[in-house]
Amino acid sequence: MEKVIQTRGLYKTFPRKGGSAQTATHYCPGCEHGVLHKLIGEALADLGLQDRTVVISPVGCSVFAYYYFDTGNIQVAHGRAAAVGTGISRTKNDAVVISYQGDGDLASIGLNETLQAANRGEKIAVFFVNNTVYGMTGGQMAPTTLVGEKTETSPEGRDPLQAGYPLHMAELISQLKAPVYIARVSFSNMAKLRQARQAIRKALEIQRDGKGYAFVEVLMACPTNQKMNVEAAIRFVSEQMEAEYPLGVLRDRSGEAKTLVRAESDYRKETLDRLLHLDTDRAPDAKLDPSARTVSVKMAGFGGQGVLSMGVILARTACAAGKFVSWYPSYGPEQRGGTANCGVVISGQPVGSPVVAEADVLVAMNRPSLEKFAGEVKPGGLLIYNAAIGEFAAPAGVRVLAVPAQELAKQGGSPRASNTAMVGVLAALGGFGLPDAVYREAIATHFSGKESVVKQNEAVFELARQWGAKQKP
């Protein structure tokens, strides 16, 4: 026995296990986890991979795989090994990631993670122990339990009408394009054991070379939970399990698969500054000026009328002029076809609430908005609205102006830019104290990359500003 346990790739003794028998595993007599551990360990040692390897211990009987593998070890939540493996592999390009999972873990609670990681072609070697039962929790039915097989939760035998049919994981995964290698093996005789050994090595070679996803399903005996002696359990594997789950290599693309290299992080500040366009989109820090008036602006209209952009352009202008400013939108389904509104607060000191409940200025682009928000304009405030709305009974004590926004936009050469026309009128009448040139810069930044659009919007802005300057609301 001692010779069997002291395998290359595994620890010589198992102090993490605790207790007195530090060279014996925690597995039951006749259990084949030990065989699989040994084959994986030997392959890792022979291929020189132990330093690079991270073995993921799942939940199930192999929860303590980290007692044994002389590699880096991580123990994870039930069914989540494939996701954890993704996180490791994406972060550490050279890591050899091994996910060792049972049937409940991989094919039931973790089926989504399993298939998705396989489908992404993650660089993980998955060793899937299929022994048709939950082991650690005491012999319940697994997704792989055979039809008619008795377990604690299928006491009369698995009934397909109640519990469906055995899940064929290797076949399921072979429906996906990304996996490099898929095999099903067993240890039920020496020839099959040799084939299993080869499959395990192949899966690990693929990891050594960083080529992608490898899946090896291992049919195993579980004498304890199948309530059989060892001979009967092995016979169950070779006669019944192998009939349901044919052995063989379902796919081997290790020859043509290319090494997959993940990026290396670039932490340099220059890189980030450039990536975030700090060279072209850069405002001065806001200047504290408590004497400056705080102005709250509400803008509202149909989704698609550019209401939110209008607010952003105003906020950009204020920001570029060194003001404190906030912009807050109504968000969510309202953006998709319904009404949209946003609030902009411009101040000489840090903005308190960004939510505009009482507006110094209201810009209304459609009738529902006008009717909804007209009452929220402060006495003496300014209400400008899209002249296309038509007749409107203005509230008392408020300065009101109908703006022919569509006409101004058309004249400026951009019929869609009614919102920019409103910004032009605001520049003239809003009382924000923001220089006209800064509005133009904000428009250029807002539409950056689209030269003709910038030109048109600048023209609309200028026309509307001049129009606005002549009005006396």
């Binding site: 605790g18 330093d51 690079r52 991270v54 211990s57 929860v63 002389d70 590699t71 880096g72 070890n73 991580i74 123990q75 994870v76 939540a77 989540r80 996701a83 954890v84 993704t86 996180g87 490791i88 592999s89 994406r90 972060t91 550490k92 890591a95 989504n112 993670e113 998705q116 992404r120 990026a263 992080s265 670039d266 932490y267 340099r268 500040k269 980030l272 990536l275 975030l276 700090l278 850069r282 405002a283 001065p284 820090d285 952003v312 906020a315 950009r316 920001c319 404190f324 906030s326 912009w327 807050y328 939108p329 968000y331 969510g332 840090p350 308190g352 609430s353 960004p354 939510v355 409940a357």
Partner: protein, 352 residues
């Protein structure tokens, strides 16, 4: 210094990039999705990794794997998604794997709606998963803090080997403000004393949260509590606004704090001596500073929150009920208004 007009959700990713976060794993959910979008745009361009996970559970477990290698990693979501991640948060805490999670709260329970709420307080501040663990929780109240607190979250996560939440609401995620960019970027070191990253030096390490032996599990739990006690001593953070001579202290975080600040000014204009106490950390709750206010003569407290008194419970615990703690709140995606807060303050002032 460089300033740019930025959305709150974008500021999170800017903070993460300058903090040296290596990877982002996420799943779409309103109103947090822009964080995922920004990660998709910006992370690969800086050689960082981004995976749109198949589920919230997968995302948090990818974070577990990435975090276990000792590199900086994060995810972001909103209420329903955070509920799903709680299993992973418990495992991260049990294995002491550092991670940063951003929660852009929306209204609940259940599917609720996507309006802003603060109803995730308990599930984030108290820990919504199983076991005796704590999350460190930072509560930004501006776009600037969305960036700065995300950066700080990575420092704290690594320092304490804890999950650090940035707990924000739909308003903070969606609003735009000028952001002063970080002045430096970080290239973080891997702590090879515990991490497992597929190298010779970390080969002896194991990242795990299981102790079969009850006494070992208890000893580990005790160790965790000692760590949390140290966190409580070291990391409480809060901000005062007109609190020096206040009789009534409003307590609010996130967007509620900014609304409450307006109510303080309005109350002062009426001659009511109100002030605002803004927790910047929710765990640890800044109880020392709050108690100092009460000890100095603060007579009443008002918890201003967009939840059903979840934070008020912590305020009461903090001051051990030595003064009345009132509640001003709205729910369901509705923002509380300045005037609603003001009405509560007036009511309190009458009782005094």
């Amino acid at each position: 210094m460089a300033t740019q007009l930025v959305k709150g959700n974008t500021a999170v990713i800017i903070g993460a990039l300058y903090a040296g976060c290596d990877s982002f794993f996420g799943y779409p959910i309103t109103p947090a999705s822009e964080i995922l979008h920004e990660a998709a745009k910006k992370f690969p361009a800086a050689g960082r990794r981004m995976v749109q996970a198949e589920s919230e559970e997968a995302a948090i477990n990818m974070v577990f794997g990435a975090g276990a290698t000792g590199r900086r990693t994060m995810t972001a979501s909103s209420g329903p998604g955070i509920s799903l991640k709680q299993e992973g948060v418990s495992y991260l805490s049990g294995a002491q794997v550092p991670a940063v999670i951003v929660d852009i709260m929306r209204a609940g329970p259940g599917l609720g709606n996507i309006g802003p709420e603060q109803g995730d307080y308990n599930q984030v501040v108290k820990g919504g998963g199983h076991g005796n663990y704590r999350n460190l929780v930072l509560a930004p109240a501006s776009v600037q803090e969305m960036c700065d607190f995300t950066r700080k979250a990575f420092e704290l996560a690594q320092k304490w080997r804890m999950v650090v939440f940035v707990l924000a609401d739909g308003v903070l995620g969606q609003m735009i403000e000028p952001l002063r960019f970080p002045e430096a970027s970080v290239a973080p070191e891997t702590d090879t004393s515990w991490a497992v990253d597929g190298t010779a030096v970390t080969r002896p390490n194991v990242v795990t949260s299981i102790f079969l032996n009850f006494d070992q599990q208890e000893a580990f739990n005790r160790q965790l509590q000692e760590k949390y006690a140290a966190v409580e001593a070291a990391e409480q953070d809060s901000e005062d606004y007109r609190m020096e001579d206040a009789d009534i202290g409003l307590v609010a975080y996130g967007i509620s704090a900014r609304i409450a600040q307006g109510a303080v000014d309005a109350a002062r204009a009426e001659g009511i001596r109100a002030g605002l106490f803004r927790p910047k950390t929710l765990y640890p709750f800044p109880k020392d500073a709050l108690n100092a206010f009460v000890a100095k003569g603060g007579k009443q407290l008002v918890s201003v929150e967009m939840s059903n008194g979840q934070m008020r419970d912590d305020i009461k615990l903090a001051v051990e009920c030595r003064c009345p703690v009132h509640l001003a709140n709205r729910l369901g995606g509705n923002l509380i208004t300045r005037d609603e807060v003001l009405a509560k303050v007036r009511e309190a002032a009458k009782k005094a």
